[in-house]
Amino acid sequence: MSNLNVINKNRTAVINPLVTCQPLGAMFAVSGIKRGLPLVHGSQGCSTFVRYGFARHFREPADIAVTSLHEDAAVFGGRKNLISGIGNLAARFKPDVMGVVTTCSSEIIGDDVGGFIKMAKDEIVKKMGVTAAEKIKIVQINTPSFVEQHYKGYDNAIKAIVDTLAEPKDEQNEKINIVPGIVNPGDIREIKHLLSLMKTEGIMLTDTSDPFDSPLRPSKAEKNPYYQKGGTPLEEIKDSANSLGTISLCSYANTGAQSLERKYKIPSKVGGTPIGVQNTDEFVRTVKKFTGNEVSDDLLDERGLLIDAMADLSSRYLFGRKVAIYGDPALTAGLARFVTELGMIPSVVCVGVKNPEFVKEMEKVAKESEDDVDVLLGQDLRALDVYIKENPVDIMIGNSDGRLMAKDHKIPLYRVGYPVYDRVGTARRPIVGYNGGLNLIDGITNTILDKYYEVQDWKLQQ
C-alpha cells in the first residue's frame, strides 16, 4: 500500500490540453443513435473541428450538421439559424433523432433553444405533415463550452436523451442499460460480448460501435442520405425506462442513469470502466446482481485466458516498470488499476479534469499498488511533459497527442483512447473486458520488448 499524491495545476494557462469543450461529448453521444444526427448550434468550427477529429481517429464519416452562426446571429440571436437549420436537416435527412447541441456562442447569445425547437417543430409539421414530422425526435442538449469539458457534454447528452426519449411501460424488459462512456467501437462490442456471455441484452446509451466502424458495402448501404450502419434504435432508447438497471461505465456520466432511477426506479450503478481483471469482475458481478443470471463457465474461461497471460508475461517482462498514463479519467483510472494488476507501477496519471470520483478511483489503485502514485489533476499534457522530464518512466500509455513528447523523451508510447491518429486499428481493438485485457497485456508487453529487450536480442530466444 502506498500514497496517492494529488498534484494540481500551478498556472492559469492550459497548455496542450487533454480535454476539449462540452459539445464534442454531445456530438459523440448522439452519433450512437440509429439514424441520429447532431445539429450543432454554433459556428462552423464547432462542428468541423469535431468532424475532422472523428474522421482522423475512426477513419469513418462523421455526419454532424451545424447552424453556421455568423455576425448577424451574434447581434440578433440565433433563432433564424436554429429554426431553419432544424427544418433543413429534418427535410433533407429525415433522421430518427436530432440532437441540438449548443455551444459557447449560442449559450452566450442567450438563445431560447427550447422555444426555438418548438417553433421549428411547428414548421416541420407544416412542411412535412404530422406523421412524418412526429417521426423525428428532437433532443435539446445544453453544452456551454466554458463549463467543464467534453466528458460533461457527453453526460449532459445522455441525460437529455433519456429524459426526452425514455418511455415507461408496464412491463420490465429484462435488459440492462449501459452508458459506455467515450470509448471505441471495439470496446462497446466487447461490452456486448460480455453481456451475451451473461445471457443478457443491453441497451447501449448510446452505441457508437457500428456508426464509427462500419462496413464498406455500397450495394447494401443506406444512401440518399447515407447513414452509417447501427447505433441504438430509438425504440430501444425509449425502452430504457423499463430495464433491470443502468450501469454507467464511466464515473463522469452518471446523471442519465440517476435520472432513470429517479423517474422510473431503474436501479443505477457507476462502475469503473471494466478495464483489467478486477474492474471487469465488478462489472460481471453487477450484471449478475441486476439480472440474477449466473456467471457462465465460458466467461470464466475467457477470464482464465487473461490470468494465464498475466501469469506468463507480467512478472517476466513488466513487473516493477513505471508507467505514465494520461487521457480520459475513466480510462486512465481503469488502466492504472490494470497495470497495477500487471505488477507495473502507475507512477503518474494525468487527467484534464478534477472529478472527485476519479480521485476516489485512483485512491483504490494507490492502495493496491506497491509504490506511490502521482496524480496530475485538472492538468494538461504540458504538465506531464515537465513531470516526466524530472521523473522518467518506462512506458507511456495514452492517446496520440502525447506522441511527440514521448519521442522527445525516448519513451515508448502505447496508444489507447481518443484520439489515436498515427497508428491504425486502435478503435476496433477493445481494451475493456477480459479480451481487452489480453489486447492490453500483449500490446504493452510487445512495446516493452521492442524497446528494452531487442537491444539484447538473445534474451528473446525463449
Binding site: 496542450n16 490540453p17 468541423t48 474522421a55 451574434a74 456562442s105
Partner: protein, 475 residues
C-alpha cells in the same frame, strides 16, 4: 440555365445558384455564387475564421507561442497536431531554435470558464500571456487569438497585447478573427494578412539582404512543399528572404518589406498581404503557380526572368523533367481517361485541373471549393471543359448526388469527406494536407500522381462485393 438545382436540394433552393454546369456558350460572368453563408442545418466542410488564421496562416511559424483566448475547446482544436506543417529549426541568423517542431507541439489557452464569461477575460489573458512568456522563453513572439466567446463578451485583445508587448519586451500580437466572423475560414486568412501587415511588416530589418531576395507568400510548407521550392530557388541563386509563413520565423514577417519581389503562392489566403506590401513599400508581387510541371516551369521562368536568371530556371526545369518524365508517362498510361473530381479548399481545384488533365490524361468531371471567392471560380471555370459541374461549398448530400450522377473514379478532397466517398465505393485522396506529399513542383506532382494511382488501383475496390459464385480469374 447555367445553374442547377440538385435533387437533394429541393428543400433548400438557395443552393441552386452555388451549382454551375460549365457551358462555354454562356456569358463570362456565369459561375457559382460563393463566399456566402452556408445554409443552416447542412453538413458543411467549412471551418471557422479562427481556423483560418491559426490553422492556416500563423500555425506554420516555427518560433511563436500561440495563446488562444477561449474555452478549452478552441485551444484543443487549434493545436499543431492537426496540421502537417513541419519546420526546420534553423533561424535566418544561423542559430537553431531550441525546440524542434515547436509549432506542432505546443499551444496555450486561457481556458475560459463561466465566471470569465460573466466578468470578462482580459485579466486572465494577461496572466496567461505572462505565463506563456515564462514557459517558453525561447519563443520570439506571442500571438493571441479572439474566439467566439471572447468576441461575444467583447474582450479587447489589442489593448492587452499592447500592454503585454511593452511589459515583456517582445511582440505580442492580437488576431481578431472569432469563429463566427465571415462565412468561411477565408475571413481568418484575411484577418491574418491585415494583422501581420499592419502590426509586423516593416518593424524589423533582416540580418543581410541580396539583390535576389524574395518573399514567398502563401506557402505554408504543407508536408514539406516549401522545402521542394526552396531547392529550386537555391539552385537558381534566388534567396527566400521571408516566407509567409511556412517554415518561417516571426522576424521574417517583420522584414517582408525588404524583399525585391513577392511571389504569391496561395492566392486565396495571402494575396491581401502582398498587395498591401506593394502599396506601402513598393515591393511588386506576382501570382505564381507551382502545381503541375507546366505551371511550375512557366512560373520558375517568370521568376528567373525577373531576376535575369532564366537560364538557371531552365536548368532546374530540365533536371527535374528528365527525372520525372518516365514516371509521368507510367502514371498517364494508367490514369488516362479516369474521371476525377477535385474538391479542394479553393485554389488547388483550379491549380490542378489542367495539369491532371494534361499530364495524367484524366477527365475532370467536377470541381468545387469550400472557401473560394469569385476570382478563384473564374479560373476554375476557365480550366473546366463543358459539362463539368462546379459547385461551391458542397455538403454531404450533394456529394452523394454528384457521385451518383458524375461517377468520378476518384475525388481529391478533405479528410472529413474522404471516408464518405469510400463508403460510396469511390477512392479519395486528401488534397489539403496530402497523403504522401509534398505535392508541389515537379517531384511533388509525381507524388500526387502516385497517390491517385494507388488510390484508384487499390485492389479493395474490385473486391468490394462478395461474389456468390466463384469469379473467373481476377484481372
Amino acid at each position: 440555365m447555367p445553374h442547377c438545382l440538385l435533387d437533394v436540394d429541393k428543400d433548400i433552393p438557395e443552393r441552386e445558384k452555388h451549382v454551375y454546369i460549365k457551358n462555354s456558350n454562356e456569358p463570362r460572368h456565369c459561375q457559382p455564387h460563393c463566399n456566402k453563408s452556408t445554409i443552416p442545418g447542412s453538413m458543411t466542410e467549412r471551418g471557422c475564421a479562427f481556423a483560418g488564421v491559426k490553422g492556416v496562416i500563423t500555425g506554420a511559424l516555427k518560433d511563436v507561442a500561440h495563446v488562444v483566448h477561449s474555452p478549452v475547446g478552441c485551444t484543443a482544436y487549434g493545436n499543431g497536431t492537426t496540421k502537417r506543417y513541419p519546420t526546420n529549426p534553423l533561424m535566418p541568423d544561423g542559430t537553431v531554435f531550441p525546440i524542434e517542431n515547436f509549432n506542432l507541439k505546443h499551444i496555450i489557452g486561457t481556458d475560459l470558464n463561466e465566471s470569465d464569461v460573466v466578468f470578462g477575460g482580459m485579466n486572465k489573458l494577461k496572466k496567461v500571456i505572462r505565463e506563456a512568456a515564462k514557459e517558453y522563453p525561447e519563443a520570439n513572439a506571442i500571438y493571441t487569438y479572439a474566439t467566439c466567446t471572447t468576441g461575444l463578451i467583447g474582450d479587447d485583445l489589442d489593448a492587452v497585447c499592447k500592454e503585454m508587448s511593452e511589459e515583456l519586451g517582445k511582440d505580442v500580437v492580437a488576431f481578431n478573427a472569432p469563429g463566427f466572423a465571415g462565412p468561411t475560414q477565408s475571413k481568418g486568412h484575411h484577418v491574418g494578412n491585415y494583422t501581420i501587415f499592419s502590426k509586423l511588416v516593416g518593424t524589423k530589418e533582416p540580418p543581410k539582404t541580396t539583390d535576389y531576395d524574395i518573399n514567398l507568400i502563401g506557402e505554408y510548407n504543407i508536408d514539406g512543399d516549401y522545402w521542394v521550392l526552396e531547392k529550386y530557388f537555391k539552385e537558381m541563386g534566388i534567396n527566400v528572404l521571408s516566407k509567409f509563413t511556412g517554415d518561417a520565423c516571426h522576424d521574417e514577417l517583420c522584414w517582408m518589406h525588404k524583399a525585391k519581389l513577392s511571389l504569391v503562392r496561395c492566392q486565396r489566403s495571402a494575396t491581401y498581404v502582398a498587395k498591401l506590401i506593394e502599396e506601402k513599400y513598393g515591393v511588386p508581387y506576382i501570382k505564381v503557380d507551382f502545381f503541375g510541371p507546366r505551371y511550375c516551369a512557366e512560373n520558375l521562368i517568370a521568376v528567373g526572368k525577373y531576376f535575369g536568371k532564366e537560364e538557371e530556371a531552365n536548368a532546374v526545369i530540365k533536371d527535374r523533367m528528365d527525372k520525372i518524365q518516365p514516371e509521368l508517362d507510367f502514371y498517364k498510361s494508367k490514369l488516362q481517361g479516369k474521371k476525377i473530381w477535385i474538391s479542394a479548399g479553393g485554389p488547388k481545384s483550379w491549380h490542378f485541373a489542367e495539369p491532371i488533365n494534361e499530364f495524367l490524361g484524366m477527365e475532370i468531371v467536377a470541381l468545387s471549393g469550400l472557401f473560394e471567392h469569385e476570382d478563384g471560380y473564374e479560373k476554375m471555370k476557365d480550366r473546366a471543359k463543358d459539362g463539368t459541374i462546379i459547385i461551391d461549398d458542397p455538403n454531404t448530400l450533394e456529394m452523394e448526388e454528384i457521385v451518383e450522377k458524375y461517377k468520378p473514379e476518384i475525388v481529391l478532397g478533405g479528410i472529413k469527406e474522404k471516408y464518405l466517398f469510400h463508403k460510396l465505393g469511390v477512392p479519395s485522396v486528401m488534397i489539403h494536407s496530402y497523403e504522401n506529399g509534398p505535392y508541389i513542383g515537379f517531384e511533388g506532382f509525381v507524388n500526387m500522381a502516385k497517390d491517385i494511382y494507388s488510390a484508384i488501383y487499390n485492389p479493395a475496390w474490385k473486391l468490394m462485393e462478395f461474389q456468390e459464385e466463384e469469379p473467373g480469374d481476377a484481372k
